[in-house]
């Protein structure tokens, strides 16, 4: 019985708890920004300009500051977390064994889905009754159906403008 506990049950428990802890830690902003290639993206969260979508979300805590990357870049469909983790493994592979692109050339694997925005914004007064959103009665249904993109249709187009960081002014707070 002791051997069973020590050589079977305990390792399973340790591995399970450790994996859970590591997976939780892998959601943190600190974890994502620990790769040097992501540093400009971390900096872009501190740009002092409300037109910068990611910066405005991070600085105003529209997303949890300690899980900023994960909150927007995970997929809110079934197995979204698993898909995000597999994507992360691919990043590690490319970073260490492939040729990583320059930070400004990093692209999403697939176009950003409005579902990720609407996970929080759907039903919110600022979204449903916003002046621009209600100006055209077809806009909100098109946004909800992902036919018009929130980020690439010209409305919230500046997300992580890592190419223009050298001229940007940065917010010093939030540490």
């Amino acid at each position: 019985m002791t051997a069973f506990l020590a050589l079977f049950a305990l390792p399973f428990l340790c591995f399970g708890m450790g994996t859970s802890s590591e997976l939780e830690h892998a959601k943190s902003t600190e974890f994502c920004l620990s790769c040097h290639i992501m540093e400009p993206y971390g900096k872009s969260l501190r740009v002092d300009d409300p037109q910068h979508l990611a910066a405005a979300h991070f600085q105003n805590h529209r997303v949890p500051a300690n899980e900023a990357c994960y909150t927007c870049h995970t997929n809110y469909a079934m197995f979204g977390g698993v898909k995000a983790k597999l994507g992360g493994l691919r990043h590690i592979y490319v970073y260490y064994f492939g040729t990583p692109p320059a930070p400004e050339n990093i692209k999403l694997y697939e176009p950003y889905n409005n579902r990720e925005c609407l996970h929080c914004h759907a039903g919110a007064r600022s979204f449903e009754e916003g002046v621009v959103h209600t100006a055209d009665p077809d806009l909100i249904p098109a946004l909800k159906a992902n036919k018009t993109s929130c980020v690439s249709s010209g409305c919230h187009a500046v997300v992580h403008d890592v190419g223009s960081l050298k001229d940007a002014k940065f917010w010093k707070g939030g540490d």
């Binding site: 051997a3 020590a6 050589l7 079977f8 390792p11 399973f12 340790c14 591995f15 450790g18 994996t19 802890s21 590591e22 830690h25 892998a26 600190e30 974890f31 620990s34 790769c35 992360g88 990043h91 590690i92 970073y95």
Partner: protein, 69 residues
């Protein structure tokens, strides 16, 4: 020093591998980057799997030996 009895030797080996796995996993939990995560799952997980499988194999092979006798 490992025992001369085959069952005990396998159990000891399994224990040693599992302790190594535990040490690796504990060290990885102190790290904060993706490499720590990869080592945790890759190295620690493999050591755990080998240790557990060796333990199970030692039990099964001991039972086979006993039933043959």
């Amino acid at each position: 020093m490992l025992s001369t009895d085959p069952l005990e030797r396998k159990l000891q080996l399994s224990g040693i591998i599992l302790i190594l796995g535990l040490v690796v996993e504990a060290m990885c939990l102190l790290g904060h980057g993706p490499i720590a995560f990869m080592l945790f799952v890759g190295l620690g997980g493999v050591l755990f799997a080998i240790g557990i499988l060796l333990y199970l194999h030692s039990l099964v092979s001991a039972n086979v030996g006993t039933s043959k006798q």
